[in-house]
């Protein structure tokens, strides 16, 4: 068993999930804030 394949798999899982969480949080925030600002301008 090559230990590096386990290390890399663990890093890949952690980074993918963290980046996914950040992207989802960022996109939902930008969308909601843009929609609120848009309605304010109308």
């Amino acid at each position: 068993m090559n230990p590096w394949s386990f290390v890399m798999a663990a890093y890949a899982v952690a980074l993918t999930a963290t980046v996914g969480l950040l992207l989802w949080a960022y996109v939902s925030m930008r969308k909601a804030e843009a929609a609120a600002d848009e309605l304010k301008r109308k």
């Binding site: 999930a17 963290t18 969480l21 950040l22």
Partner: protein
Amino acid sequence: MHRFANPARFLKIARPATAWLLGVGLVLTTFALAAGLALTPPDYLQGETVRIMYVHVPAAWLGMAGWAGIAAASISQLVWRHPLAAVAGRATAPAGATFAAICLITGSIWGRPTWGTWWEWDGRLTSMLILFFLYLGYIGLAGAEKERGGEGRLAALFGLVGAINLPIIHYSVLWWRTLHQGQSLSLEGSTIAFSIVWPLLLSALGFTCIFGAAVLMRMRAELAEVKLEARMRRAAAE
């Protein structure tokens, strides 16, 4: 805490704080994880697989810290009726669930070469899995209450009751000595050599900043949605 009860005042602080936490978190985490891969020696017993610690341990801490945050928000909501408490609870849950999941998956990956198994119904592993399910339950309950226009008191109660699992997770390695190793790091000191442990402290700090940024972004999204709904209601009434 009630100084931040006004959403406008909260947002004035949250906007720059989000950017700072995200920037510092990304820099610290990237450096710590690279250092954990390249600059630290392998462990005398576990060899190279010890490097999984740099993602697994911060994820475990943040999975637990997230629920502690939910419990604090729940008390704040039930006792002091803080207007942002329910928002904070709902915003913390997805980040906490994500880190609890990272902890479970990376722990399983670590377990295969170290213990020879992907999973064991060990006290620590099982209580962590329960925490992940508690997160899913909280997200479902808080979301349903919000949709029905409720104040989120049921979710707050659930958040408080679920906190009973935190000391169980913490002491599980003492109460049920099965597969998971005992505590290596505490406020009193560390049983891990400094040459191996220093990137862990940096990655924990970095992931904590990222966690904080994710929670603030979710809180800002929730507050913008509330504002949007209020404006739409006002527009419909005019």
